[in-house]
């Protein structure tokens, strides 16, 4: 009876019945509009920005995307589940500070320090997930508290001095190149993309995230542990934030409490530009990938053009809006 209804295939839903051509399906996909804008921006920058379109610069963009993109993937799951995490920047700063402190002042081996710092971050994230569920404290508030407190703790740990970490093999993990070509952070970036995309589409946990975000009561009645899902997604952003903190530490060869200011904004913006609904229940990892690349290309291109930094800010704001408008327009006509 309803077989003629043209409904956009969400890439997250198995669609054995739909008999659309691949092209039509691609066009119907919500992210198409954004992808078109991304390509347009890319072409324009290639034409007008000096040295934009070089292999080295492309790799450079990927490297820079990693520093907020890894968190953006995890953030997508958090937003899909109906939550938010504004603490990632402070988490990254704390990780960087704690790791350097443990290595330099306490003399722990790097791997152990990194492991401990990750454990701390994940425990904090899981804690926020737990009080969200057990005590009904919105994650916005829980992570806002962390946002304030952890930055303070990071400053206290380092005394706001950068703590130099002298380990050249560690530096490789932040600034090195695989085969002398591909920046190491870019590798993390794609690895994270693949892992999170697979989790989101092909695991029971990933699908539960969508169910919890779409209707927590229905999810609970279907036997999904809503609490477990919330704890896990919040641990996920904490984990990626810690990794980002480690990457910064490796890149700068020092532990810094001033890094990653505004990381939450970049990560959330990339996810939402990529089509993730703030209300929960909807979003794709591939959309976020496009959102991350969009932001990274834009930031790089504007420096390439030698734009005044304030004009850069204005353009950035305008394009966030524009990208979302395109996205929304596409969704509505689909």
């Amino acid at each position: 009876m309803t077989s003629q209804t043209p409904v956009a295939e969400s890439p997250d839903t198995a669609a054995p019945a739909a008999k659309q051509s691949p092209l039509r399906r691609a066009l119907a996909w919500e992210g198409t509009g954004l992808l078109a804008v991304l390509i347009a921006v890319f072409i324009i920058l290639s034409l007008i920005a000096p040295n934009f379109l070089t292999a080295a610069n492309m790799l450079n963009i990927l490297q820079q995307a990693a520093f907020f993109g890894i968190v953006a993937f995890a953030m997508t799951l958090v937003i899909v589940s109906g939550e938010i995490d504004v603490s990632v920047g402070s988490q990254a700063a704390l990780t960087s500070s704690v790791v350097a402190y443990m290595v330099v002042t306490m003399g722990l081996p790097m791997w152990l320090a990194a492991l401990l710092a990750i454990v701390i971050a994940v425990a904090l994230g899981a804690g926020i997930g737990w009080i969200r569920d057990a005590l009904n404290v919105p994650t916005f508030i829980g992570t806002l508290a962390l946002y304030l407190a952890l930055r303070g703790v990071a400053h206290l740990v380092t005394n706001t001095f950068p703590i130099p970490v002298d380990a050249s093999e560690f530096f490789y993990w932040g600034s090195g190149r695989v085969f002398g070509v591909i920046p190491v952070p870019a590798v993390y970036f794609f690895l994270t993309f693949v892992v999170v995309a697979v989790i989101a589409r092909f695991t029971v946990f990933g699908r539960s995230v969508y169910a919890v975000g779409g209707n927590p009561k229905a999810a609970a009645l279907s036997g999904i542990s809503v609490r477990r899902v919330r704890i896990l997604v919040m641990s996920g952003t904490a984990f990626t934030a810690a990794i980002t903190g480690l990457m910064h530490t490796a890149q700068l060869a020092s532990g810094n409490s001033t890094i990653a200011v505004g990381l939450e904004f970049d990560a959330i913006a990339a996810a939402v530009i990529g089509g993730t609904a703030m209300a929960g229940g909807r979003g794709t990892i591939i959309g976020t990938l496009i959102g991350v690349l969009f932001v990274a290309i834009l930031l790089n291109g504007m420096v390439m053009l030698g734009l005044n930094p304030y004009v850069q800010q204005v353009v950035r704001g305008g394009l966030v809006l524009f990208a979302v408008l395109i996205n929304v327009a596409r969704t509505r006509t689909a």
């Binding site: 295939e9 695991t203 009645l221 279907s222």
Partner: protein, 506 residues
């Protein structure tokens, strides 16, 4: 029919297309003052769509002078205009604002002002008047979100009655009411009709139609099948018009006496403070056990407590003879016990996910593997869609875009996909059409034959009598009577549910 009464509402060839799906196809309708018109049709027939067009919530495809009120062509920009123009609607889906008080909800959108400010006193007064008409007291200052479903429905009706509409449209107003309240409501509708209000009454409950309606319009696949007076046709004829060719069977299977069979699920002395005083019963393997009771008798609470989605209870639940401690939905599902909630929008569907995803929710959380097995799922989904005849463009279609009945089938399909051994069904037929109901009854019986037990809660006592092997009557917090399926009739169950002078609704 008293054809000398003036025509109030006239609709000419209304059509509505969603995308390229025609939900309504050239339907015309003429309504006279004081007439009660029943609007019938199975799920997805277009009833709600017609209601939305008349009430200005949606606009017809071609919007030229197609709707006339008192002879004047009208163009509502929105439902607010329609309402002030004299057309009031109680929609199938609730439209209440949980945090506002009952009184504010009744008056929402038309709050009276005094010196520029909202006049809360006047709101209370007018709301009280509107609620008085219902003959059921409601706490005026309580946030609506805290009322029971039935009371929320009453608030909806009070809202519609507020400014004495010329045309009142009720879209399945009784789906959340018990028989006594249904009778009160039907009487109320008659009273309003006597006063000259024209009423459009949408319902799946055939029993109500002759009691309330003068005439009926039957829709099928978006088209008008017939418009006839209630006394001109028999119930059977109506049913076949609704269903098309085939007609739903009235009797479903033979009630069995399974008292010798093994106990699948047992409840011992379940107590919820102030609601249940100690409920005990057993469900046998392959048995369909009905639970009858009035609204507010605590049937929903009983099922939720068994299922572990509610924890403020004492007493024991045994599955397969073993007591289950610290019950939770996940745990009960592992033991093969599933529940479908009574409010599908609030707790049933995950609206943005596809039908397939919705159907697989329980099966996945029950399975051990952390991975989704797409191929296996595809077959399961196809089977469930086929078995329940869910009308959908494909497994990927977001479930929220289906009609209410089909959404409900999706929710029930969840238990099928998860291969449960005991089903706790809370009002599974709420808002489902005759055909789909019959399908569901057959399904429940078929499952019973395969050894799957069901606990069937319904406010439509007729269907309990039709389907169940045994029916418990819940009254004053206890199981007061047990009626065997053979002896059960709707009237008998109703009598038992209402028996004795227990504490009445305040």
């Amino acid at each position: 029919m008293a054809d000398d009464r003036p025509v109030v509402l006239e609709c000419v060839e209304l059509s509505k297309t969603y995308g390229n799906f025609r939900a309504l196809d050239s339907v015309s309708l003429t309504l006279r003052a004081g007439e009660v018109r029943a609007l019938l049709g199975k799920n997805g027939a277009g009833k709600s769509t017609l209601v939305k067009l008349i009430s200005g919530t949606e606009h017809p495809d071609r919007g030229h002078d197609q709707i006339k009120l008192d002879g004047q062509p009208v163009h509502w920009a929105n439902s607010g205009e329609a309402r002030s123009g004299g057309i009031a609607v109680v929609h199938q889906e609730f439209s209440l604002i949980p945090e506002l008080s009952v009184a504010e909800n009744v008056m929402v959108g038309r709050w009276p002002r005094r010196r520029g400010l909202v006049d809360h006193k006047a709101i209370l007064k007018s709301a009280a008047r509107a609620i008085d008409v219902l003959g059921e007291p409601l706490p005026l200052t309580m946030p609506v979100g805290r009322l029971s479903t039935a009371h929320q429905q009453l608030v909806e009706i009070a809202k519609a009655l507020l400014d004495e509409p010329k045309v009142l449209i009720l879209d399945e107003p009784t789906s959340a009411l018990n028989s006594r309240e249904v009778d009160a409501l039907l009487a109320l509708v008659r009273r309003l009709a006597q006063r000259g209000v024209a009423v459009i009454y949408v319902s799946h409950r055939m029993r109500e139609i002759p009691l309330v309606a003068d005439s009926m319009t039957i829709l099928r696949d978006g088209r008008e099948v017939a418009t006839v007076g209630v006394r001109e046709v028999t119930t059977d004829e109506v049913a076949s018009m609704i269903a098309g060719s085939s007609r739903a069977q009235a009797k479903v299977g033979e009630p069995q006496d399974l008292s010798g069979a093994e106990v699948a699920l047992a409840v011992e002395n379940l107590v919820i403070d102030g609601l249940l005083e100690g409920v005990s019963f057993e469900v046998r393997k392959g048995e369909v056990l009905g639970i009858a009771g009035l609204l507010g008798s605590g049937r929903t609470e009983l099922l939720s407590s068994i299922y572990g989605s509610r924890h403020d209870c004492e007493g024991e639940v045994l599955v397969g003879g073993r007591p289950v401690k610290d019950r939770s939905p996940a745990k009960m599902l592992r033991l093969g016990v599933a529940m479908t909630p009574e409010d599908r929008k609030d707790a049933g569907i995950v609206p943005l996910l596809g039908v397939g995803e919705n159907v697989m929710l329980m099966a996945r959380s029950r399975g051990r593997s952390p991975w989704i097995r797409r191929n296996q799922e595809r077959d399961t989904i196809a089977e469930v869609i086929d078995r329940l005849s869910i009308a959908t463009a494909g497994a990927g279609q977001p479930i929220a875009s289906l009609s209410g009945g089909n959404q409900q089938k999706g929710v029930i399909g969840r238990c099928l996909a998860a291969e449960m051994s005991v089903l706790l069904l809370d009002e599974p037929t709420r808002g489902i059409d005759v055909g789909a109901k019959a399908q569901l009854y057959r399904l429940i019986r078929e499952l019973a034959q395969r050894g799957i037990s069901s606990v069937f809660v319904s406010s439509e006592l007729d269907e309990l009598a039709q389907v169940c092997d045994r029916v418990l009557v819940l009254r004053d917090g206890r199981v007061r009577e047990t009626v065997s399926g053979a002896e059960a009739t709707g009237d008998r169950l109703l009598a038992l549910a209402m028996k004795t002078d227990h504490e009445e609704l305040v």
